[in-house]
């Protein structure tokens, strides 16, 4: 099963990336590395530029300066679908499914677009079973409960068998009781598929539970990096959170 | 859905078959693909008005008697929308009603669309349009209501040269078939008479002609010809020509519509020096026809002066049916038509022409008139004799 892991092309690397919209710097000189099959948490107050970072890494937004590398290939500014072909796939903060299509068709679409065959579904079966998606197999995605829609979107991302998963606040909007699903998902993705995961998250408990390493963004800058226990007790990080702007992350998802 | 439509259509077919049987009580059914909507609607309305008038006249005056039985005439006008498909579809609907005698349509695209249908259904038709291919040997039973500019542009230009001195003319017309065909013929005739020609075509649908006017005046033409520009367009062009300071004579070697042109241009004084082709000369005889329409139909005739020509055409069709002693054999009616003299009680005598221009001698030529405004005053019509070939 982990044979695919061996072929992994290498690390995902951000090399002093910056992004400005007009004169507004959203993102300034940030560097970090996510090793193959690694797991890196990204935290920061609202408006810190976390979603923008995922948009840049996935290719949706062009960079202002710096570069993003997957292995030896420079990937920033390339079309999103080309990066997905290379195994770099992202999830969305809000629900992202194809409305009007059944759960099954949503999953089949993901398989088709990533040029995978149906056997991947069998590998995903335990996850589908656990989330309760199998019970809803023929139901349209948009009528599912919010949490289930979210898990469907995450499962679709995994169904493409990515090498690197960029997860944009997977737990956002989930009930406390549903959050264990995220643990299961992340664990499953790493164990079964050997995915490297960049986990952007607000839920500190989740970050502490899952991530061996985190980086902290504030006002578009990287202010801290290290194991969560250590980083989260730093004074500047706590200040950033307490003083963090309460505004909505401007680069909202579409659902 | 479509299935139901089919079934309904088959029902309609059965109904129409029985209708044909009942129709043997001598009724000449004239069909008219006529544009009844959109910018050209007034032309189709004139056509329909003329047909309805002739129908009533024929019945009232017992003009059509077959085998001793006086026949009635019915008219079915269907909107042909000034498009080829519209005309084709209208013609097919007429064919389905068993109608094989057609008067109309009025415009080039419509004539283009209706001729194949007329041919396939072996209909006899009298059409209008200034297109170079309105009639021809390919369509043996299609007749043409009256000559195009090849017939009458020459005499009008000569009349203009009597009063005005010009050595060049700018021709302005829309860039579609209705415009280019007429403008091209006019240009040839001007050139033959030694007048230099600049042709200028505008996009159909243009509303402000100031740029076109500026362009055509750059070559300092001594005269302007508006060819077959629609009346509304011609009115604006004249208004804007005069605003731009153009003082020479203006021709409209196209079709009728003088009243509308004068209204849009802002009055006779704006026209100043203006000559136009009037298909029929408004005289006592035509005023009598106007009055007859008022008496018979209880309403004034349609404003568009094409009405008179369509009356001519419809009467010819009735006469041909009378001569052929048939209301439903289009071939016989067409054959009879070819032998009839071109003559109308109100419009006058003429000839069959067309061999030279179209290759088929099926165009009616009859007296026409030259309209003139000189120095801002409307002049009496100048009667011009019917054009003859050779």
């Amino acid at each position: 099963m982990s044979a695919s892991l061996a072929a992994s092309a290498g690390a995902l690397r951000a090399d002093s990336i910056s992004k400005a919209f007009g004169g507004l710097k959203v993102f300034h000189d940030v560097s970090f590395t996510l090793p193959p099959a690694g797991l890196l948490g990204v935290i920061g107050p609202n408006g810190a530029g976390k979603t923008t970072m995922i948009n840049i890494m996935s290719g949706r937004l062009p960079l202002s300066s710096g570069q993003v590398l997957l292995g030896d290939t420079r990937i920033d500014g390339r079309p999103v679908y080309a990066n997905a072909d290379q195994g770099l796939v992202r999830s969305f903060q809000q629900t992202a499914t194809f409305a009007g299509s059944s759960v099954e068709d949503n999953l089949i679409a993901a398989l088709r677009f990533a040029k995978r065959d149906r056997s991947v579904l069998e590998r995903l079966a335990p996850l589908l079973d656990r989330f309760g998606l199998i019970e809803c197999w023929g139901r349209h995605a948009e009528v599912l409960p919010y949490g289930l829609q979210k898990m469907l979107g995450l499962t679709m991302a995994l169904a493409t068998q990515p090498k690197m998963l960029l997860l944009d606040e997977p737990a956002a909007g989930l009930e406390k009781s549903e959050r264990a699903n995220i643990d299961a998902y992340v664990g499953f993705a790493q164990r079964e598929f050997g995915c490297g995961i960049l986990l952007v998250e607000h839920d500190m408990d989740l970050i502490r539970r899952l991530c061996p390493q985190v980086i902290v963004l504030d006002g578009g800058r990287l202010i801290a990096a290290g194991p969560p226990g250590e980083v989260l007790s730093r004074k500047d990080v706590i200040d950033a959170y307490l003083g963090g702007a309460d505004e909505e992350d401007a680069d909202a998802q579409h659902s | 859905m479509a299935l139901r439509a089919q079934r309904a259509a088959i029902g309609a077919l059965l109904a129409s078959v029985t209708f044909c049987d009942a129709g043997s009580a001598c009724e000449l059914k004239i069909g008219a693909p006529a544009v009844l909507s959109g910018p050209a609607a007034q032309w189709g309305i004139a056509l329909r008005g003329a047909l309805e008038f002739v129908a009533k006249e024929t019945v009232q005056e017992r003009r059509l008697v077959i085998g001793g039985t006086p026949c009635t005439v019915s008219v079915k006008a269907i909107d042909s929308k000034y498009t080829a498909e519209g005309a084709a579809s209208a013609m097919n609907a007429l064919a389905a009603d068993g109608i094989t005698v057609i008067v109309g349509p009025v415009g080039s695209p419509e004539v283009t669309g209706m001729k194949p249908v007329a041919l396939r259904n072996r209909m006899v038709a009298m059409v209008n349009s200034f297109a170079r291919d309105s009639i021809g040997p390919r369509w043996p039973n299609v007749f043409h209501i009256g000559p195009g500019p090849s017939g009458w542009a020459g005499p009008i230009i000569d009349e203009g040269r009597k009063h005005y001195d010009f050595s060049s003319v700018g021709i302005v017309a829309p860039n579609d078939q209705g415009g280019t065909d007429v403008a091209g013929v006019n240009a040839d005739i001007f050139k033959k008479k030694g007048v230099g020609v600049v042709e200028e075509y505008y996009q159909r649908g243009t509303t402000n002609f100031a740029p076109i006017v500026t362009r055509v005046l750059r070559s300092n033409p001594g005269a302007i010809d508006l060819a077959s520009s629609p009346a509304g367009d011609a009115g604006i062009i004249i208004k804007q020509l005069r605003q731009a300071g153009f003082a020479g004579p203006i021709f409209r070697l196209g079709g009728p519509g003088f009243e509308e042109i004068a209204r849009v241009a802002g009055g006779i004084e704006v026209l100043k020096d203006f000559l136009w082709y009037e298909p029929v000369a408004m005289d006592e005889s035509l005023r009598a026809l106007e009055k007859k329409h008022q008496d018979l139909m209880g309403a004034p005739r349609p404003e568009n002066a094409d009405f008179f020509r369509w009356v001519f055409a419809a009467r010819m069709m009735v006469k041909a049916a009378q001569a052929a002693q048939s209301i439903d054999k289009p071939q016989a009616i067409a054959d009879a038509m070819r032998k009839l003299p071109v003559e109308d009680e109100n419009i006058g005598k003429g000839y069959w022409i067309g061999q030279q221009f179209f290759g088929i001698n099926q165009e009616m030529s009859y007296p026409f008139a030259i309209g003139q405004v000189r120095g801002g005053k409307v002049q009496d019509y100048i009667h011009a004799a019917a054009v003859k070939e050779n």
Binding site: A99 | M1, T83, S89, A93, D97, T112, Q177
Partner: protein
């Protein structure tokens, strides 16, 4: 959790059907047109069927692009390319074989659409709409300007009748057979194409951002669809030119694109049957209204407004809803499981 147990719980894969019910029904109806000349020789029925088929085939160009929620005004442009290709081939090169001409009428517009699609498919939503509108205007003006090839404002007149295996197809019923053949080809291509790529098209329509993130190169499918839509429109152009024996610029007037869009939407854009239903309804209505002379555009307008207000989802949508209600009302029908109430998406993070 046990892997094997989970896999066993996974529902079996359904065999994907080649075509759905609507597609089969539509193809059946279009195919039925072949039988019309046998059933009747009434020229109006033949002509109506002919016009409906041409309108419906043209509307397929709109239908295909609407799969991705793109509204195309470009149908008359590609109809013109198809129609003029046929006219030029038959008049200048003497090609009359209907199959050869049909292939040319499909391929030529489809090829022209490739570079155009590359240019304009980067535009989203309403910009795409507007650019296709401009494109149609440009093609119309080019028809006038390229006189040596297109005959300018006179069009190309006097085409010989098309032939099938050397037999001339000339009279009313044979013209209908030609149209029916072209329409059947157009509908078959469209049905197969939209079914085969239904996942891609649905994904692009509903959420193109998500589709791209999963690896779908959306523009490629848009360009492909644009090209196929152009080809199908070209078939309609061929049928129209063949009916009129003339390729004339007025047959491809830019505003006629509005009619084709109307057929598609009034009929119901959700299913291919909608284009046929819309074309049948509105072409028939146009014909009836034409008897009313000056009133006809107003009646047509009123019909469009009423159908739009009353029948959301078009005629087909209305019919499906009515059928559904009927089934529910009938006591014999098994009680349906109460549908799960839609849970509103909570778009705010915790």
């Amino acid at each position: 959790m046990s892997n094997q147990a989970s896999i066993r719980r996974l529902p079996q894969a359904r065999r994907p059907a080649l075509l759905g019910g609507y597609e089969w029904a539509t193809l059946g109806l279009v195919g039925f047109a072949f039988a019309v000349p046998v059933l009747t020789r009434n020229p109006q029925i033949l002509s109506q069927t002919n016009l409906i088929l041409i309108a419906a085939t043209a509307a397929l160009g709109v239908y295909i692009m609407l799969r991705m929620d793109l509204m195309s005004f470009a149908v008359p442009a590609f109809m013109a390319i198809g129609g003029y290709t046929v006219a030029v081939l038959s008049l200048k090169l003497g090609v009359t074989d209907v199959i050869l001409l049909g292939v040319a009428a499909f391929v030529m517009p489809a090829l022209c659409a490739v570079p155009l699609g590359w240019l304009i498919l980067r535009l989203k939503g309403v910009y795409f709409v507007l650019v296709t509108f401009v494109l149609t205007e440009i093609v119309q003006l080019l028809l006038f300007e390229a006189t040596p090839l297109t005959g300018g404002s006179n069009g190309l007149v006097g085409m010989p009748a098309v032939t099938l295996f050397g037999i001339e197809l000339m009279d009313n019923s044979q013209v209908l057979l030609t149209t029916a053949g072209l329409a059947f080809a157009g509908f078959t291509i469209t049905a197969l194409f939209t079914r085969y790529f239904r996942y891609e098209f649905t994904a692009i329509e509903k959420n193109d951002v998500l589709a791209e993130s999963l690896g779908l190169a959306c523009w490629r499918y848009k360009a492909l669809a644009f090209s196929v839509a152009a080809g199908v429109s070209g078939l309609a152009g061929f049928a129209l030119v063949n009916m009129l024996l003339t390729a004339h610029p007025t047959s491809f007037a830019p505003m006629s694109s509005v009619s084709y869009i109307t057929y598609t939407i009034v009929g119901g854009k959700g299913a291919i049957l909608g284009t046929l239903a819309g074309a049948a309804l509105l072409v028939t209505a146009t014909d009836l209204f034409a008897l009313k002379g000056e009133l006809s555009p107003g009646l047509f307008g009123l019909l469009i407004i009423v159908v739009t207000l009353v029948a959301r989802g078009g005629v087909i949508g209305l019919a499906a809803k009515a059928a559904g209600r009927l089934r529910r009302a009938s006591p014999a029908a098994p009680a349906r499981v109460a549908p799960i109430a839609a849970v509103p998406a909570r778009g705010v993070k915790s």
